[in-house]
């Protein structure tokens, strides 16, 4: 408004009196005065729309965006592993007999001894988790540590420092968001059913766990991280996977815990287990 009005005034007018300009335009096109209240009202309306947008983003859209990003990053990492397998991963024990045995995951008569990787540094990506129950294309990267800024918000799934690594005797304990931020990896955690496979891919291969049970606990129940979950005496012998997230959704009142037991390991040379997004196979 001031630009066009001012220019026309300058070209046509000999009168330098600028007070004239608004009045002439006022006659040609009636115009409301800009009031402080009016601008304030418009700003408040705009703020309300932005808040509503944020709610929609928080509840739904942001998760979609982050989940798509998670899958893309996980696929890129899986392809990178497949193209350049780590030097330390010749199949450690008897690859030829086990290749036929592990083709049938239900009855592994000669299971391959899993490769145990070293614990990652805080914020270091070390694995990818696949959970077909969460979606056939579900793939989220896993990082060391459970801090929000370095792992949970940015990588996806975090590994509790001090707990065991995939395939190791003891408890491989991880955490992830149920809603928001890292794509809400564990949004559908209460949909897990007994027998559901949960596969962790690392540079060494694929570790398959079988889901067993859910539990709801208080946030202080650190014994879910014990080598034998919920056993404060830390017994030994089993290989467990413990996933923790918040419950109910969008709150911090409780924690939902999912326990799984180790089933089998496939070295990278043998390719991914059936049903796992086979970026590696292509």
């Amino acid at each position: 408004m001031p630009g066009t009005g001012g220019q026309s005034d300058a070209t046509e007018s000999v009168r330098p009196d600028s007070n004239d300009a608004p009045s002439r335009r006022g006659r040609a096109r009636p115009r409301r005065k800009v009031s402080v209240i009016g601008v304030l009202g418009e700003l408040l309306l705009t703020g309300g729309v932005v808040v509503l947008l944020f709610v929609g983003w928080q509840l739904w859209i942001g998760d979609q965006i982050s989940a798509a990003r998670n899958i893309a990053e996980a696929q890129a990492l899986a392809e990178q592993w497949q193209e350049t397998p780590p030097p330390s991963s010749p199949a450690p024990s008897s690859p030829s007999p086990s290749s036929t045995a592990t083709a049938d995951p239900v009855a592994p008569p000669a299971p391959t001894e899993p490769v145990i990787s070293t614990e990652p540094r805080d914020g270091e990506v070390f694995g990818i988790m696949y959970v077909p129950r969460f979606g056939n294309d579900f793939a989220v990267r896993m990082g060391g540590g459970v801090s929000r800024t370095r792992t949970l918000d940015t990588i996806g799934i975090g590994h509790y420092p001090g707990t065991q690594m995939p395939g190791e005797v003891g408890n491989f304990a991880v955490a992830a968001h149920r809603t928001g931020f890292g794509g809400a990896p564990f949004y559908l955690m209460d949909e897990l059913r007994v027998g559901d496979p949960i596969v962790v891919e690392t540079a060494d291969g694929w570790y398959t766990y079988i889901f067993r049970t859910l539990e709801y606990v208080r946030p202080t129940a650190v014994d879910v991280l014990s080598a034998v979950p919920q056993d404060t005496l830390t017994g030994v012998g089993g290989r467990y996977l413990t996933m923790t997230s918040c419950s109910p959704r969008h709150t911090i009142a409780e924690r939902i815990i999912a326990y799984s037991v180790f089933d089998s390991f496939r070295p990278r040379a043998e390719g991914p287990p059936a049903g796992i997004p086979a970026t590696a196979g292509t």
């Binding site: 800009v34 983003w57 859209i61 459970v146 149920r178 928001g180 931020f181 911090i252």
Partner: protein
Amino acid sequence: MYAALWRVLPGPWWLRTLILLILAAAIVYALFFYVFPVVAVWITPEEVTVQ
């Protein structure tokens, strides 16, 4: 405020509407991909770990 914005925009009404729609889409995109992810960390405390 918005009335002034409408007057500043050039062209016929449909062109102004088009410009405003594109502008709104750009603002929403910036909010969704840059502003909200940063703000959310401060607004919603979500703890997923046991401790």
